[in-house]
Amino acid sequence: MTTARTLKLNLGPQHPSTHGVLRLILELEGEKILSCEPDIGYLHRGMEKMAEGLTYIQNLPTVDRIDYLSGCFYSELFCRTVEKALGITISEKSKIIRVTLLELNRIASHLLWIGAFLMDLGALSPFFYAMREREMILRFFEKLTGQRMMYNYFVFGGVRKDIDYIEDIAEIVRVLPEKIEDYEKIITDNPIFIQRTRGKGILKPETAFNNSITGANLRASGVNYDLRTTDELYKGFEFSPVVLDGKDSWTRYKARIMEIKESIKIIEQGLDKLKTCGKLEQKLINPLNIKLPEGEYYSEIEAPRGLASIFIKSTGEDKPYRLKWRTGSYYSINLLRELLIGEYLNDAIAIAGSLDIILPEADK
């Protein structure tokens, strides 16, 4: 309710730093935010409805486009659900390839986030550095799969073809840690950065639970919840989830930086395993005749922006009767209703940026 003393302000949808097209309807008193109403849907593509009209093999390339920064995760999720429904088990090497690529994809996604977040705060250089390192990963993906972001590489029953260009991954793993160190030198202890993020956007665990927040945002609030620890796919890989207890924007940044380091560890283990694995053996199914048995299927995975899950209801046809996605960003946007109240307008972008919101993923 706007009164004579308050001002209603549209933040977005076309503000350059709102990552895609997010509109926040803010009510301000002076510079203080009294209420926030997020408005999404500007990037709605009807992915769920579209899926009902396509067969499973036609759906496979479209799921990469749910979130263009971490396409592998949604591919994996979709393949995993279909495999579960059809009772297919994938070979050990396919699993290792999948984990390695997923973690590379996670690093690429986090790198872009670091760049975009720092750009929100007005720092330009880290954006270019992060993009440069991300380019190495995308180049590897392009060599392997043929495209930089929409891979279409995971298939029902395994992967499209045997992994190649392992030396490229080794190079990424070798170069990345020192680059991350560079970022930390520039960003982590920078007083301006600390002033704008320390103690801002405090996310209490209870608020996070009430808003279904998952992923790095939740782990930066001191809750140890990482699906990878219980995931079948990650069996045999050793890593420790990053749990920090700062609850503010700065901790969320730190958590993601540390997560990149953890991902590098997983990729190193994956590389060691790939070297001793031998040739890829897998049994792929006939793509033209995939019919899921009648029933409801559900899978979940730890995506870069929190828990991602898929629900498929099948009536025994060759197309899903209903397909539902759960993506992390959708809940992070909703969290802004609570997180921004009482903060100042100039912190709003910094707080929204720290949650790692990607609009296509939220709008689907």
């Binding site: 396509l54 067969t55 093999i57 036609q58 759906n59 496979l60 390339p61 479209t62 990469d64 250089s125 550095y129 440069r132 380019e135 180049r139 392009e142 060599k143 392997l144 799969t145 043929g146 495209q147 929409m150 279409n152 499209r160 560079d182 030198k185 520039i186 960003i187 982590t188 202890d189 920078n190 007083p191 793509p287 033209l288």
Partner: protein, 120 residues
């Protein structure tokens, strides 16, 4: 203060390395052999599997009275370059080239018509 100086030194280090950006139209960026760009069809037998796996309905084919496939049309305006048709073609008749600069003034340029059957 120490942190700012350290950060500045790290940034300044980049003055002495080669630039990573390219002046695009003059210099072409790296492109892998597997790149999925414009389609090329050769040796098609008209089985129609590509149409069945295409998610965007970019592939159409017309048949004569006997049910034989006469011609195929690949509509690049609809194509999302996922590569499904290439991956599932049993005769490896479809290849995707590195050509991605598809901007044109004539819409018809983006419609690739191929004769079906064994005559191609």
């Amino acid at each position: 203060m120490r942190a700012i100086v350290e950060g500045l030194l790290t940034v300044l280090k980049h003055l002495f390395i080669k630039p990573v950006t390219l002046e695009y139209p003059e210099k072409k960026r790296f492109q892998s052999e597997a790149f999925r760009g414009k389609l090329v069809v050769k040796g098609c037998i008209g089985c129609g599997i590509c149409k069945k796996v295409c998610p965007s309905g970019a592939i159409e084919y017309s048949k004569d009275e006997e049910g034989k496939v006469v011609s195929y049309t690949f509509d690049l305006k609809k194509c999302m370059f996922c590569g499904n048709c290439m991956y599932y073609c049993p005769h490896h008749a479809i290849k995707m080239t590195g050509d991605f600069e598809l901007a044109t003034e004539n819409k018809q340029d983006l419609k690739l018509v191929y004769k079906g059957g064994a005559d191609d």
